[in-house]
Symmetry: C2
């Protein structure tokens, strides 16, 4: 049984590690929003120093002794205590496995990569991006080897986000989804192609788009006192504190701006909804990887594409964008949910989204298996898009340069979107079993039944449980 | 002679202390710009932890031994080395004198104060502000006592910003300035009262104001790659890195927005203009207190109020705000430079500005001498305004609530503006002796003569020298 004294020490370390992580996230946020060009380099150094500080704390004699005294311990006063110990041991292992200099190097590469990606994307310049990508992938491989030299690097990288998943298992899940998607796609392709989705294109000035996405957040019940909306080319949600979460959107195209903000708001709610005990223990913010994406994808697909959600937002949209006054909600919803294979992941429909994920997952896997290099990666990308989705990118922006992930150190992450979709479907099923009126209420403007269910069953626990434990918890309750 | 080995250790510590300070400044910036209401508390804790980390570093055995081995050392390889040692010893002394818990408490109080001030100002509510002020002043007194229990608290507080100044010396300088100001004021009051400054009031929408203040920054030669402009009720400049500086302005009133941005741009240039050696040594950012204000006040008064500056900006202003097409530059400049005693420091003219400073300095002094409490401080404020400037505030906003300083922990700072004015006048004198064509060039749109002179003589040294050394350096060159 872990003693009170041990747990106090654990909590003290975990809370401080989170302070440092929060600082790193504020820098990340700052780089997207405020930092002038010449300030990036120094903020990269500051970030690297934060990593160094975390490492110092984790590899100290005190932490080492604490971890050794707790390893294998299974009896805890509470799940929160157990979660803190799991968190600390996980971080400790990485810290002793990955040399501090390598962590610092990665931190700097992420900062540099974030800046370089923005520039290369703007210029549609993949050639200049190649060395950036090469550097990231090289560093990632070094990190994987440092963590476990006896394992395939990609296996290790994937496990940094989605713990306990074997690649074979993910392969099998993705293959199953792929077959199902292709089957459905073939069945609906013709009928879907008849739907006119040009109505989704519309001229709306920047401020109008902003007002509408804020209205969408309001319908979803996002607390303005706990969130700041920002704009960015590639939407993300930055988690800057237990009660401070920053979803973003890209305001270039209205309808995509709405779906993106709904997705990021899902992350946002998960981020700030931990209960007080979990928040104080440092376990706030939600489980990284697939479980976090399950919340964003839940909101995007199971809420943001529903009639009930739009029954609230559509009248507002019609007021703000007169063209929609002449278009019925039925017509709009058909267009919004049209299945339409395309090149851009962020604009993919619910059905074909996974195909984009599979392409990225396969490419990462082939790369770290030594089958691809930065010189052949784009060809592979384009070939797979032609094969899986029927289109070849005409430029790098609509091809290999579309995602910010690799540039900013998110390697081994993509499968989380597909796994998250699967979890989200399970949660939707469970929610409806528990609260059959959840969507009826949403249609009447009350998103709290959905929000409260997610908060009670998932959000409030933050990172207390592993993904597997969290899923099991839901299944046991059924 | 300090050894290479010693200096490497010093540099390593100083650079890392600056990383932590930079993080603290990014949080400060974040709180003004991005942080949602419920996120303030956690950012306060993170800030307190940064202070704790600085303290740990400073009070470590390694630093202690290093400082002890270097105390009294006068021979250094370079002025930068000497500056780093002075910086480190100064920080070390504060760290061992002020208990870490007290530093953390102050950090939290500053975060809380920043939020509370905004709310109380909005609501014009001084009653709710009293406990915030009391807490800050109590903490400041504790800190002063911790640093030197044998000294008057206010003396210590002033020396935290303006080192080596005795209060008696400041009293004498301020008294001299006050006499001179009153004498000039009496001489010009009648004539000045005839000038119509109502032409400075104009309707300009927010985006127009923003365009004009950015144009002003452009004329001053501010590098956009090294700066981010932001908006705030009470303008400040946040120093977020050796090549990253963030001036702000308040866009409510056009002409004041311009003068404020010129002032903050002065800070901004000083912040990011250290030479590479100084930047890498961690001594970037400029000397705190009066020397920093000398640069902002230099820009505000010796540049921003001149005909030459406006010869560049006025045509742009006339284009953006049609009303000025009918007003000559002469008429405009007379209004801009009109001496007009008033209630608001930030809107004060060049002449009466010091009277606002003196009031604050006297109030701080009386407070820490035990002659005032938070219950009597406003009465004192109002009485002094009536006596020195001839007006009594009609509400708290135009009275005691107008400045953010006290709320955010800036106690003992105000004298720096008046001393800075004096230094700025000396620098202007010196600049003209060295470069008689400086303002002629400015009139032709080239601010680089002024900018380069300041960079060469002041900015490039960052915090290498003390204020006294810096002033002496200028005098020696004359």
């Amino acid at each position: 049984m872990a003693t009170k004294e041990q747990m106090e020490k654990v909590k003290n370390i975990v809370v401080k590690l989170r302070y440092l992580e929060c600082m790193d996230n504020i820098i990340y946020y700052d780089r997207w929003n405020n930092c002038p060009k010449d300030g990036f380099d120094y903020e990269g150094k500051v970030g690297a120093y934060l990593t160094e500080l975390s490492n110092e704390k984790l590899t100290s004699k005190e932490t080492k002794e604490l971890v050794e005294s707790l390893e294998g311990e299974t009896a805890f006063d509470s799940d929160t205590d157990k979660g803190m110990v799991r968190y600390l041991i996980g971080k400790y292992k990485e810290a002793v496995q990955i040399p501090a200099s390598l962590q610092g190097e990665l931190n700097q590469a992420n900062a540099d990569g974030q800046l370089a990606w923005g520039k290369c994307y703007e210029a549609d310049d993949f050639e200049s991006f190649k060395p950036v990508l090469k550097k990231q992938f090289d560093l990632q491989e070094k990190i994987a080897t440092a963590i476990n030299p006896d394992e395939k690097p990609y296996q290790v990288l994937v496990n940094r986000f989605d713990k306990d998943y074997r690649l074979e298992e993910i392969d099998a899940i993705l293959a199953k989804i792929k077959d199902a998607v292709c089957e459905i796609l073939n069945a609906v392709r013709e009928e879907q192609s008849k739907i006119d989705d040009s109505i989704l294109e519309c001229e709306a000035d920047h401020d109008t788009v902003l007002r509408i996405v804020k209205k969408a957040q309001e319908i979803l019940g996002l607390d303005k006192d706990k969130s700041t909306l920002f704009e960015i080319h590639h939407p993300v949600c930055v988690c800057t504190g237990p009660r401070d979460s920053r979803p973003s959107t890209n305001c270039d195209e209205l309808i995509h701006a709405i779906l993106a903000v709904v997705h990021e708001t899902g992350h946002g709610l998960y981020n700030y909804n931990a209960n007080d005990e979990v928040a104080e223990s440092g376990l706030w913010g939600g489980i990284e990887g697939a479980m976090h994406e399950s919340q964003s994808r839940f909101y995007e697909n199971h809420v943001g594409r529903t009639r009930e959600f739009w029954e609230n937002l559509y009248p507002y949209l019609q007021k703000e964008v007169p063209k929609y006054k002449e278009i019925s909600l039925d017509t709009f919803l058909a267009a919004l949910n049209k299945v339409k294979p395309g090149l851009i992941r962020l604009k993919a429909d619910e059905l074909t989204n996974t195909l984009h994920i599979i392409i990225r997952y396969e490419i990462e896997k082939e790369y770290f298996d030594g089958k691809l290099t930065v010189d052949t990666i784009e060809e592979a990308w384009n070939r797979k898009y032609q094969e899986y989705l029927g289109f070849t990118p005409k430029n790098h922006q609509e091809g290999i340069l579309q995602d910010v992930h690799w540039a900013s150190g998110c390697v081994g992450y993509f499968q989380g979107y597909a796994l998250g979709d699967a979890y989200a479907a399970q949660f939707a099923h469970k929610l409806l079993a528990d609260c059959p009126d959840a969507f009826e209420k949403l249609g009447k403007g009350d998103s709290s039944v959905i929000g409260n269910w997610l908060k009670e069953h998932i959000h409030q626990y933050g990172q207390t449980y592993s993904t597997r434990e969290m899923l099991k918890k839901q299944q046991e309750k059924s």
